[in-house]
């Protein structure tokens, strides 16, 4: 496609000249090797418009984001294309002007704002310094400017707040300070790189609303880089879906979500859970190819459900299929339409008979003298998934760690098949340790990088005397197939695997002990949505085939709907509402539950 005539069909004037940004044929290559990281990126950001840039990790979305500021990370080089801001090409400007332009005209909000704020300078001083640097206002007016900036993002602006350091703010506050700093010089373009990843839904909602409002008020164009389609559905005007360094599909938000045309977009949407109804989630097989390892023809051909021979030979171009809607697929017309309700399954039956295997009564958990969980009681039946949901600090992980015996400062009773469990894993019987398995949130930390996959999965078998030697190896291969890992990875070290593959290894390690209860602590939150979909599908299969019960800790309510039968909503260490998923989510009784539900980003 050509973007040389960016007269938008909906009548918006040409982007250049009246603010906004035009990206033409942008390409970034690795230095040293002629390998494209991203290429052929054409994108227009109109004034006051929020464009969502979505893709899995490794798709090159952050690379595109920073290219707008004329920046590429070490080892990469912006090799072609133009980034036009009011007819000036950011990429060819002398560096002094680029320096001035960054922040002043094109601002960047990083993923981790805590590391972008100076920890040893007070918030107020940082905001004033920023204005000094940019030459905004006078010495007297700058403090007022700082106050106004904070007010705009909904933060307190009294002296006490201005005197705080970054570490004295919450995650959401820090992110909003970063937004205030980005908006202070009144930029024309804003690049946001996953600014809400890691924030609670309520905080996320607040940050997103603030951002959207500011963009619209000041007619700022924003590029919102994220892996979370649900977030994009709530704030973006248009959506660009990136895959393997190219834009796969580009269109207005409503079109993308109602009528996605690219198989990749559809696969992404299929892997996202809905709030309103349970779904059988599916992942996308394989992984995003790295630069240099991308297949010929269509780059998605090795993972695509609609692939034909032609896809392996022909390189598809971005084609306009409807006004403003462009797709990079040669089979657009042949693959039919997509339905958002595809994959919908009945919700878990709330009246199903329950055979309780584990019960928690009056659980109080302490960290030193501080009591963080207050009298929590719930139970878990055979073959059932109970979700613990809450914001960070609600105690959900603390509860799961106590149940798993990883944290031992607790009182109350946890019964497993009627027997009381000891406090720490070490003081429990071998059999109890075997039957309750814990899976950790971050698969990058939970596998020993020095061991091979075989050693990792085999260990519980040896430890619990289930199998050893050749027999154990056979079982490892069997388990790896079960979690959809090829046996070719048997002798790989964990450091060679992707996040999703690592988490599968962690699940296989838990399964190796032949457990009855698995405690899953946010096990999908560090993973891409497509990987999350396949992991959830895997867990659902395990539950049905092996009758394993699961305690599923998450902050994602939509995910709960698809995976769990019962849910416990936690707030500050208390259970505020509990019951079957259908009841709690369709007819919430508590305000807190309602707030959580309404703040959760959704695509349905």
């Amino acid at each position: 496609m050509t973007t040389t005539s960016p007269d938008a069909p909906n009548g918006t004037p040409m982007a250049t000249g009246s603010g906004g940004l035009v990206i033409e044929d942008l390409g970034v290559t690795l230095t040293g090797r002629p390998v494209d990281v991203v290429d052929d990126i054409d994108l227009v950001l109109r004034p006051g418009e929020v464009v969502g840039l979505v893709g899995e990790s490794g798709s090159g979305k952050t690379t595109v984001g920073t290219s707008l500021l004329g920046y590429s990370r070490a080892g990469a080089l912006i090799s072609s294309g133009r980034v036009l801001l009011e007819d000036r090409d950011v990429l060819t400007l002398p560096w002094k002007e680029v320096r001035k332009l960054r922040g002043e005209e094109i601002a960047y909000v990083p993923q981790d704002p805590a590391s972008a704020l100076n920890p040893s300078i007070r918030i107020g001083k940082q905001l004033v310094e920023l204005q000094e640097l940019r030459g905004i206002g006078t010495a007297e007016s700058r403090l007022e400017g700082a106050r106004a900036g904070l007010a705009e993002v909904g933060l307190p602006n009294d002296d006490e707040f201005l005197k705080r350091y970054a570490h004295q703010l919450s995650g959401g506050q820090v992110q909003r300070v970063a937004l205030a700093m980005a908006f202070l010089p009144k930029p024309k373009v804003l690049v946001l790189d996953e600014p809400t990843t890691g924030l609670d839904v309520t905080t996320q909602k607040m940050v997103l609303d603030t951002m959207a409002e500011l963009c619209r008020t000041y007619r700022v164009s924003a590029l919102y880089v994220t892996h979370d389609l649900a977030v994009v559905a709530n704030i973006a005007d248009r959506v660009a879906v990136m895959y393997a360094g190219q834009i796969a599909e580009l269109g207005p938000k409503d079109t993308i979500f109602a009528n996605p045309a690219h198989p990749y977009t559809r696969a992404l949407l299929d892997s996202i859970p809905h709030l309103s109804q349970a779904r059988a989630l599916s992942g996308i097989p394989g992984r995003t190819p790295a630069p240099g390892a991308r297949p010929d023809g269509c780059r998605f051909n090795d993972r695509c459900a609609f692939v034909v021979d032609r896809c392996r030979q022909e390189v598809p171009a971005l084609r306009t299929v409807a006004p403003d809607h462009e797709v990079r697929c040669i089979r657009v017309e042949e693959i039919g339409t997509w339905d958002i309700n595809r994959g919908t399954v009945p919700d878990a039956d709330p009246d199903k008979a329950r055979d309780v295997i584990m019960s928690v009564e009056g659980l109080d958990v302490f960290y030193g003298r501080k009591r963080v969980v207050h009298g929590v009681s719930f139970d878990l039946a055979k073959g059932e998934v109970v979700a613990l949901v809450g914001e960070s600090g609600s105690g959900k992980t603390t509860i799961s760690r106590s149940v798993g015996g990883l944290h031992k400062e607790w009182t109350g009773t946890i019964r497993f098949e009627g027997r009381e469990l000891a406090k720490s894993a070490r003081s429990r019987s071998v059999e109890d340790r075997r039957r309750i398995q814990y899976i950790f949130q971050n698969p990058y930390l939970s596998l020993n990088p020095r061991l091979t996959i075989e050693q990792i999965i085999k260990r519980p078998m040896e430890l619990f005397g289930i199998a050893k030697g050749k027999q154990a190896t056979d079982r490892v291969v069997e388990l790896m197939e079960h979690v959809a890992l090829g046996s070719g990875m048997l002798h790989y070290q964990a450091s060679r695997l992707s996040g999703g593959e690592r988490q599968r290894v962690a699940i296989a390690r838990a399964l190796a002990a032949e457990p009855d209860v698995m405690i899953c602590d946010e096990i999908t939150s560090a993973l891409d949505v497509s990987v999350q979909g396949s992991i959830v599908a895997l867990l659902e299969g395990l539950r049905q085939q092996r009758g394993i019960s699961m305690l599923f800790v998450t902050h994602n309510l939509a995910l709960v709907r698809s995976i769990a039968a019962r849910v416990e909503i936690l707030q500050a260490g208390h259970v505020v509402e509990s019951g079957s998923v259908v009841t709690v989510m369709d007819t919430p009784r508590e305000d807190y539950t309602r707030t959580l539900l309404s703040n959760s980003p959704r695509i349905d």
Partner: protein, 280 residues
């Protein structure tokens, strides 16, 4: 953008180390000095205690020393003792120090406090002083005494480093996972924690080797060598220092050898440290 992880097998630590100039130069020179210390005695023109002329005379390549022994031959003989004692002392110090540091980090809480505070007390003494306290009480100390003393004086320093490295590892989930499975504590340390510490510990070992050479040579200079008659680079400096003006080579030759050896091992340690810091 988080990097995709489909990279080919990460090259082994050693292979990456060899690619680094600092390590390969340091390692190469160290190897040469070690080979010299081991094989040179076979090629020495004279015996270790053979008198070849009057004291401090220029007879021979490097002249003679205070007893009229050939300096070149003495230098060729004198490396072995320094080398063996410093390598063994380093090993003793590393093993002791790692054990203390890892146990403190893994034990945590009171264990950590008590062990590390005691460690701090030992750290307050200069290394050589600890060795001298015992050595002055002994006549003709056996080689193993020197090894143990130098090794022990290293231990508190190694323990500090080992604890620091281990602290970052014991809190990782894979260690917690092993705990939850009920692995024996010794196995958690040996199989889960230690293998992830090799990079920084190798660097520390290289550095400790440098210090060992220095201390062993210094002890030799002060007259605390295992065998007073035998050639020893450190001792040679002491023996011949009175003749420095008339026959400087008798002092300079062992000094140069010690300098080359320590610089080389230090370079090697530096290279390893850089590599370990860059991350695995």
């Amino acid at each position: 953008m988080s990097a995709t992880t489909s990279s080919p097998a990460a090259p082994s630590f050693l292979r990456r180390a060899l690619k680094q100039k600092r390590f390969s130069v340091g390692g190469g020179v160290t190897l040469l000095v070690v080979l010299f210390a081991i094989f040179a005695p076979f090629f020495a023109p004279y015996g270790e205690n053979e008198t070849t002329g009057p004291p401090y005379s220029p007879i021979g390549v490097l002249g003679t020393d205070y007893l009229g022994q050939d300096v070149l031959s003495r230098v060729m003989y004198g490396g072995w003792g320094v080398l063996v004692i410093s390598v063994l002392a380093t090993i003793v110090g590393m093993v002791l120090g790692i054990a203390i540091g890892v146990v403190a980090a893994y034990g945590g809480g009171w264990w950590d406090e008590v062990i590390m505070r005691l460690n701090d007390v030992l750290l307050a003494f200069p290394q050589i002083l600890l060795a001298l306290v015992v050595l002055t009480a002994l006549q003709n100390p056996a080689p193993w005494v020197i090894i143990v003393l130098v090794g022990t004086s290293h231990a508190p320093r190694v323990a500090r480093v080992a604890r620091g490295v281990a602290l970052g590892i014991v809190s990782r989930d894979f260690v917690v996972a092993a705990e939850a499975l009920g692995e024996k504590r010794s196995r958690v340390i040996l199989a889960e924690v230690l293998p992830n510490m090799t990079g920084p510990l190798l660097a520390e070992a290289g550095l400790r080797l440098t210090y060992s050479i220095g201390i062993v040579a210094a002890l030799g200079f002060l007259g605390f060598a295992a065998d007073p008659g035998a050639a020893n680079w450190g001792q040679m400096i002491n023996e011949n220092r009175l003749g420095l003006a008339t026959q400087p080579w008798a002092v300079l030759a062992p000094v140069i050898m010690i300098a080359i050896f320590t610089i080389a091992t230090n370079l090697m340690a530096d290279g390893l440290a850089q590599l370990a810091q860059r991350g695995e």
